[in-house]
């Protein structure tokens, strides 16, 4: 069967500094991280002929191309639904190089997420199109922020699985342990205790402050090409063994409240099914993971979606440091979006590549097979990375 298995390789990664106030434009951040990714790959801007990003990114790909002198583009695209696009744009790049639509594709995401528009401040009446009608079912009642939407799912999940806030805390604590060793992380050298988690202020019951990711200014980018080209390049390649997008039955953007059961993630189940079928791999093969962590609870659901544990059993799986370096599944070794930075999952793509290269700040011994996922509660995406043979 024709598939994307082993047809595309991530050969370069780049990022800006992460901060709470970058002091520069989102275009500047995008140009910097794209430049860094191209340099990391040992390429020059003129080699790039494809670009892809999020619909939410404020910077047009052609503006980034002009800034860097990239020149001609034969492929460009955008993926909607916020963090759900994180691996979706890798998927775009992979399809473009596998079909010959482009040779070297850059994916990027750059935002002033703290000093500019802050997602935590919620949606408002200013938005346009059919989106506005959609939010109209929630805005009058105060359900305006990502935390408020995810809290509704989390409450039901905790009701059905008897998962406790102290279980959610295990996710926050493990990512923080990793961030303590990562100089690029906001929480570098700043540890978190269970007591601090439990006494942090309630944001949207049952989500407390440390169940929520950060807001960050910064940008991340990566370069994708074919395995044939990748073999002669500057960095060891991270080959894409399986990659997929998915939107599932009765999907809404962040508010899929109307399904018979909302304590599961049908769209991520569908991503898992595809990437396992494509790669010929299974849950037992996954050695490390970068699991999208805009909120602590969503990590638990994804572990279940990818069959890393039985449905409803994630709270048991994550006990005893399973997500930490040395545990069953070292996860979010950069600190994740809870503790490194919130770059809409693209900092996670870059960490996935570092894990394969063996250059993570918290490098596990086994790194042949790394799972990387995208945002949850929205149409989403995921992939499995491996070492280029």
């Amino acid at each position: 069967m024709e598939s994307l298995r082993d047809r595309a390789v991530i050969v370069g990664i780049g990022q800006t500094d992460f901060s709470k106030n970058s002091g520069r434009s989102e275009l500047a951040l995008a140009a910097e991280c794209v430049k860094a990714a191209i340099q990391d790959a040992g390429l020059s801007p003129r080699d790039i002929d494809g670009m892809t990003t999020f619909t939410l990114d404020s910077t047009d790909e052609i503006e980034v191309a002009r800034s860097l002198g990239i020149g001609d583009l034969t492929f460009y695209s955008r993926i909607p639904h916020g963090g759900g696009a994180a691996i979706g744009i890798v998927h775009q790049a992979a399809m473009a190089v596998a079909t010959g639509s482009a040779q070297y594709v850059v994916g990027y995401r750059a935002l002033n997420g703290r000093s500019g528009q802050r997602y935590s401040q919620g949606v408002s009446g200013d938005i346009v199109t059919s989106d506005l009608i959609h939010w109209g079912w929630y805005m009058p009642f105060g359900l305006l922020t990502p935390a408020s939407w995810v809290a509704m799912f989390t409450q039901r999940y905790m009701h059905e699985t008897e998962c406790k806030s102290t279980d959610l805390a295990q996710v926050s604590l493990s990512t923080r342990k990793h961030a303590v060793n990562n100089p690029n992380a906001f929480f570098y050298r700043r540890e978190l205790t269970l007591e601090q988690h439990q006494s942090s202020r309630m944001i949207a019951d049952p989500l407390r402050l440390y169940d929520c990711c950060q807001e960050t200014d910064g940008g991340c980018a990566f370069v994708v090409t074919t395995p044939e080209r990748a073999r002669d390049m500057a960095q060891p390649g991270a080959v894409i063994r399986g990659i997929a997008q998915a939107s599932a039955d009765d999907q809404e953007s962040m508010t899929s409240f109307y399904r018979p059961n909302i304590a599961v993630l049908p769209e991520m189940d569908l991503v898992a099914k595809q990437v396992y079928a494509q790669s010929g791999l299974g849950p037992g093969d996954i050695e490390a993971a970068v699991i999208y962590d805009a909120f602590s609870s969503i990590v638990l659901w994804q572990l279940e979606s990818f069959g890393l544990c039985e449905p409803g059993e994630a709270k048991e799986f994550i006990k005893n440091g399973a997500l930490e370096l040395g545990g069953r599944l070292p996860t979010n070794t950069h600190g994740g979006q809870l503790s490194e930075a919130y770059i809409h999952g693209i900092n996670g793509v870059n960490e996935g590549v570092r894990l394969i290269r063996g250059t993570s700040c918290n490098q596990p011994e086994k790194n042949d097979c790394v799972l990387v996922t995208a945002g949850v509660g929205i149409p989403t995406s995921g992939m499995i990375l491996g070492k280029l043979a």
């Binding site: 106030n21 002091g23 000093s115 935590s120 401040q121 919620g122 408002s124 009446g125 506005l132 009608i133 959609h134 939010w135 109209g136 079912w137 929630y138 805005m139 009058p140 009642f141 105060g142 359900l143 305006l144 922020t145 408020s148 809290a151 509704m152 799912f153 409450q155 039901r156 009701h159 202020r201 309630m202 944001i203 949207a204 019951d205 049952p206 402050l209 009765d250 508010t255 409240f257 109307y258 909302i262």
Partner: protein, 326 residues
Amino acid sequence: MHLDSETARRNQAFEVGIREYVGMKEGPPFACPDLVNEPMIRHWCEVMGDSNPAYLDADVARKTVHGGIVAPPTMLQTWDMRGYPMRDPALIQNKQRELHALFDRAGYTGVVATDTEQEFIRYLRPGDQITSETTIESISEEKATGLGIGYFIVTRTVFTDQNGDEVGWLTFRVLKFKPSQPPAAVATDGGAPKAPSRIKSPRGHDNAWWWEGIDAGLLLIQKCRDCGALRHPPGPMCGACQSSRWETTESSGEGTVYSYTVLHHPPIPGYDFPCPVVLIDLQEGTRLVANIAACKPEEIHIGMKVECRIEDAGEGMKLPFFYPAR
């Protein structure tokens, strides 16, 4: 925001003025008035409730890795504290005080300490002579905070011993801010300012009829005219049979809580916080987001029976509210 040229010029002069302080030493190195000593260690431990014998009991301390009494590391900052003169600006003058005065004159009269970071390089022992030197490390951009608009100022103090070796450091962050005006005080000649209200749903082809039902006191559910499937939120086409023909049926308003959240932060103007939001399974089989009323947040639970009343939510906007079933 429109600024007249005079205001813009003054703001720019202030910005330039405060930035000149970044990187400056607060003053010359300060030799702490007392050597590290046991009485002060004992007093500090007593106040802090720390009974660690390594700090207090010479016999026990001698047998520890320290070989004698040491000072608690977190006591570092106390050695250079100046006592009561700290409260009197006339008695201590330095660059940090000068900088704060600049902020005061520009209206940033509030000050609050926000956080500190410290590193302790070695334990201090009785007899150590500590010297501190403080640098104004950074001033943030102007920030909007809950207390008001302001700037975060970070100072870094480095502590050295009698040999000139660094024994620890601390950074200290304060917010200098313009205290927020209560809303009434900013009222212009138009009278009292208008309180913000809940955000209304926009109305279009696919949803206006539902909100008009609410306006008329009816909780409606969309029903496919061909297959009879009920759907909410409503839309132009039936997902089950692709028919575009539909009608409405009135809900009994009876339901159960399927899930819920209580919103605490950020408080959004126009809504009462903490704000409970419920996801209701209506008896007819569709689900609906709304607020719950007459129920304390801690009393809300999944499976709770509720009933709908359509009520005025201010500014003539009607909304469905769910009450605990009688």
